[in-house]
Amino acid sequence: MPSLKFLFKPQNELEKRGRKTAPLYGEPEKTCPNCHRTLTISTLEKTTGVCSCGYHFRMGARERLDFIADKDSFYELFADIASSDPLSFPGYQEKLRKAENASGSKESVVTGTCTIGGEKCALFIMDPLFMMGSMGAATGEKITRLFEYATGNDLPVVGFTVSGGARMQEGMLSLMQMAATSAAVRRHGSKGLFYLTVLTDPTTGGVTASFAMEGDIIMAEPGATVGFAGARVVEQTTRQPLPKGFQTAESMLEHGFIDTIVPRKDEKEAIRLLLALHRRDHGKGL
């Protein structure tokens, strides 16, 4: 059985220097916000968006999919579900169009089934390129359907979260998705099925306060922002400087809300192992 570095803590400067704006992996910016090294896109592609200082760049869902799912194993589900702009919110349609172009998806999450290191699972990956992974009714609907599909087909669920929270432009309908997804997670769990969440930068708001924190095992990427209220809002409300490392995966680990932090290069193997350990045969033959 391969050994994993559980409780891995990154040896980088993230915590010392506080938060920086994080460019998306794939955007023209190539300067690491942590060590300020200039990185070429081809270097980043080779390292799956990780700088040699340990900084993890954000990753689009399609890109992450290529990296995490076994080659040609992904079968996409519910790709046609999209927002109907239910409130006719000013300027929203245009934002949706831009997000579609940027991400190549009709919503902020990609859902389907695949194998990871040979282990079959249902998979969802939220997309920072689609309105920073904000959760609209269609996002919630896709995730809910994926859990229902997994429940019906006896599959574990692996979910990558990245989100600014519930989507303002869909008002209380996006809020209700916290309840819908939670209910579906609950049913999936009641059947004895395994749910693994991988929190990536940033996982906040209504997503943190629902399915992101409901995993049987919660994994996070090094340096990822994980929290409920936005850091700026906390700062403005309390009028106090934030403690170092506030709302990082490392601090959430310290406070007992995350099981383990795994660097991206070890992520796939860690997921494979956890899926295997939760097979109905309890990981026989590992």
Binding site: T144, A183, A209, F228
Partner: protein
């Protein structure tokens, strides 16, 4: 234009009855219960067991407090993680003893602070929603003022959701929405219109089943009327089979109804 923002102002008004007022007005006798059995007792959550029409009911309210001293003590009705954990403890207890649950919701949102974050505000809300929506006992949630985002929904995953006619339910405050979208908090009135956050909006979406008249708000007759209504509804819910399935479908339906396939 601006009508929605007027309602937001009314919903926030300090002269409205608080969650504890509703409980004391409707349930008699009532005994308050404290603490999350983990870390602390959050005064923003006022909860316990009361009698309504000869039936024991677990009642949980978010309370903003009346005077400055009380408001500070209850941190203006913004629950900390311990508040949600206390509420959840009492909800599970209600399920164990086959008591129905009524919640009264009035919050601008979950408490926003370094400590609350470090003690898992997100996790506390997530767990509360996930457990509440699966409870094997009848539940009614009543929004009596502000329904601020996840902090409100944490006590709102119920069989029936009612709203007072001047209550609001929103994913973000109009000010927050305006400052994020238009970098201008002064456009809060526009945001309030755009967010569709009134009780009538909630009714039209199916997010609330009923809008409750505020005639005589806070008076004896008002509480008697609302009490009777709750009593009747709880009796009907108690007879309903497959409550959990119906509740699942209830919250499940919005994603189906308000999306499209293309």
């Amino acid at each position: 234009m601006g009508r929605a923002y007027d309602i937001v102002r009314i919903a926030r008004s300090g002269s409205r009855p608080t969650g504890a007022d509703y409980i004391r007005g409707i349930f008699s006798p009532f005994i308050e219960l404290h603490g999350d059995r983990r870390f602390a007792d959050d005064p923003a959550i006022f909860a316990g067991i009361g009698i309504l029409g000869g039936q024991a009911v677990t009642v949980i309210a978010i309370d903003k407090g009346h005077d400055t001293e009380e408001r500070t003590r209850r941190h203006f009705g913004a629950p900390e993680p311990e508040g949600y954990r206390k509420a959840l403890r009492l909800m599970k207890q209600a399920e164990k003893f086959h008591r129905p649950i009524v919640t009264f919701i009035d919050t601008s949102g979950a408490y926003c602070g370094v400590d609350a974050e470090e003690r898992g505000q997100g996790e506390a809300i997530a767990e509360s929603i996930m457990e509440m929506i699966d409870l094997d006992t009848p539940t009614i949630a009543i929004l009596i003022g502000e329904g601020g985002s996840g902090g409100a929904l944490a006590l709102g995953a119920a069989d029936r959701v009612w709203m007072m006619e001047n209550a609001v339910y929103s994913v973000i405050s109009p000010e927050g929405c305006a400052s994020i979208l238009w970098k201008d908090a002064a456009k809060a009135a526009d945001a309030a219109d755009g967010l569709r956050l009134t009780a009538d909006d909630a009714l039209s979406f199916g997010i609330a089943e009923e809008v409750i008249s505020e005639d005589g708000l806070g008076g004896k007759a008002f509480y008697a009327r609302l009490g009777e209504k709750i009593e009747r509804e709880l009796r009907e819910l108690a007879e309903q089979k497959d409550l959990r399935q119906a509740r699942y479908e209830r919250f499940r339906s919005f994603g189906r109804k308000y999306t499209e396939r293309r």
